[in-house]
């Protein structure tokens, strides 16, 4: 996936719109999830409570283009976005700065990048998601 400034700018606009819509505040975390890595999302959701305690967050706003994502935890607020929106958000993230309260739930993009290759080399998939990606 390659990025350009227009796409990143669109991502920032999308994020601003979502912030207003969700009444985003200092105790919120944003998770961006692009369809295709459901095993990663599932594992991260299992650790969501622990991550929130660590970051002293009260809510996770999950932005996704995957309508099959099923979230029943009341502290996770799922916001459906278009595929284009999610790609724009990722472009924004790659160009901009990472923040602790905004992250891409992925083993392809920054925090978890290359995470899968550790599986079987002393690490489980679970620990890759927990320590490598969520940094708990």
């Amino acid at each position: 996936m390659t990025f350009d400034i227009e796409q990143a700018n669109r991502g920032l606009m999308t994020l601003s719109f979502i912030f207003a819509k969700c009444n985003y505040g200092a105790t919120d975390m944003i998770w961006i999830y692009k369809k295709g890595e459901s095993d990663v999302l599932e594992k991260c959701i299992a650790f969501a409570d622990e991550k929130m305690k660590k970051e002293r967050a009260e809510r996770i706003i999950l932005l996704t283009d995957d309508d099959e994502v099923d979230v029943f935890q009341e502290f996770i607020c799922k916001v459906m976005c278009s595929e284009q929106d999610i790609e724009d958000l990722i472009a924004w993230y790659m160009v901009g700065h990472p923040y602790n309260n905004i992250m891409i739930i992925s083993l392809i993009y920054p925090e978890g990048r290359n995470g899968r290759k550790w599986i079987g080399k002393g690490y489980s998939f679970e620990s890759i998601c927990k320590h490598g990606l969520l940094r708990i």
Partner: protein
């Protein structure tokens, strides 16, 4: 958490501007974090003493633990004097909670100084302007790589060493030939911001390019976005550049420093035996030892300094070890250069990396805190006692241990906890 140059400047300038604030007060840092080291250095540069470091984590503070040689406490154990006369420095994203905790304990709000750097800043502050400036940096980075390619050749591949640690440069070079072979790369340049890194690179015979921190930063920016081999750029770091991987931290030590290079940095699918650097056989150590009156085979080279880590072993403890070694009949010298001072009672010596093994083998014994120098001398045929620490910002033996990493089998490795144990360990081994 990575403290960058900008963070250091912010810490330094704030301490400088507020230096009068500390007069006649006890200076206390709240938080045993990597920022504490830079705050400590900034205070020291302004001749401001540091009395105490406090932290809520019992693994880091309290029960006689030291942090950079400074006593530590849990905030709840602060005494009246510390509460009344302490100036508290906080540099953390949890500064609001930490400030509230201090106020609840009775500290005057005016005696709390919050330094806002990197991740301790407000969490969300991007806007279009910042996005444009970030993209500008990405483009500048790309242009700089193009400039290098025009200068050195279109087929040149640039390997970046963003981190100044010599151990990182050593490990990167140790396995680089396999990566070059695997990817059929012939013409390369190793790019670094520190002369020390480049000295290590030269041991392996690679061409080097010294760049500024700004240049390194924009090239990394560009790599973050266009990361792939077609960019002809690859950072050689044992953690993800944007966020330090917790995977390698003290809490998850299943993996070692060299394995991070093998499987993460280079993404090899199997282990490789690392290449060894070239060593010069000049024999210069003979003259050096003779001029300092040091005995061949009965000298201890003490290496108490490490670039990236701060050790809690006090100067007094080091001096006591020197006295012990001398009583056992050893001559003792300190490997130091620049502003570093020799341990009292020892001769200062300094040798280039390419002669390090020669010096250590001629001396007979090397005692040093874990640093990049230990990687370089790991293959020396001499007694090698390597000192590690546990706790805050420490060189974990699990992750950095020479034996664990397979660099050598004969290193004697000691984890420093307290002086008595340290001396008895040395006593047993020398």
């Amino acid at each position: 958490m990575l403290v960058n140059e900008k963070d250091k400047e912010t810490i330094n300038s704030l301490i400088h501007n507020r230096r009068k604030f500390f007069l006649d007060k006890k200076t206390i840092i709240f938080g045993c974090t990597p920022y504490a080291r830079d705050i400590y250095q900034a205070l020291d540069e302004h001749d401001i003493g540091l009395s105490l470091i406090i932290d809520n984590n019992p693994k880091k503070a309290g029960s006689g633990k030291l942090c950079m040689g400074i006593p530590t406490k849990n905030p709840n154990d602060l005494n009246d004097d510390e509460i009344r006369n302490g100036i508290y420095i906080i540099c953390s994203k949890y500064h609001l909670e930490m400030t509230s905790q201090l106020i609840e304990l009775g500290v005057n709000e005016n005696n709390i100084l919050c330094i806002h750097v990197g991740e301790s800043k407000k969490l969300f502050e991007d806007d279009i302007e910042k996005m444009e400036s970030a993209w500008e940096e990405v483009c500048l980075g790309r242009n700089l790589v193009d400039k290098w390619k025009r200068e050195y050749g279109r087929d040149f591949f640039f390997f970046l060493l963003p981190y100044p640690g010599t151990g990182d440069a050593y490990m990167a070079c140790r396995y680089l030939p396999y990566f070059l072979e695997q990817n059929k790369i012939e013409n390369i340049m190793l790019v670094a911001t520190s002369n020390n890194s480049l000295k290590v690179v030269k041991l392996f015979g690679y061409d080097t390019l010294l760049v500024s921190h700004e240049e390194m930063s924009i090239v990394l920016r560009s790599w973050e976005v266009f990361e792939d081999l077609r960019a002809f750029v690859k950072p050689l770091l044992h953690w993800g550049w944007r966020t330090k991987r917790f995977i390698s931290s003290d809490n998850h030590p299943q993996i070692t420093f060299n394995e991070m290079f093998l499987y993460d940095t280079y993404a090899f699918d199997r282990p490789h035996e690392g290449y060894l650097p070239k060593q010069a056989k000049t024999g210069s150590w003979v003259g050096c030892f003779a001029s300092h009156g040091l005995k061949q085979g009965k000298t201890v080279i003490f290496a108490p300094y490490a670039g990236s880590f701060t050790y809690n072993i006090s100067a007094q403890d080091m001096e006591n070890v020197v006295i012990f070694l001398k009583n056992k009949g050893y001559d003792v010298c300190t490997n130091c250069f620049g502003k570093e001072k020799p341990i009292r009672g020892t001769v200062p010596i300094c040798f280039p990396y390419e002669e390090a093994i020669g010096y250590v083998e001629y001396a007979g014994v090397f005692v040093g805190v874990r640093s990049g120098l230990c990687d370089i001398i790991s293959s020396a045929r001499a007694k090698k006692i390597i000192i590690y620490e546990s706790g805050f910002n420490a060189t974990s033996i699990d992750y950095f241990g020479l034996v664990n990493m397979g660099l050598c089998e004969d290193a004697i490795e000691i984890v420093y906890d307290n002086f008595d144990k340290f001396v008895s360990d040395i006593e047993n081994e020398v």
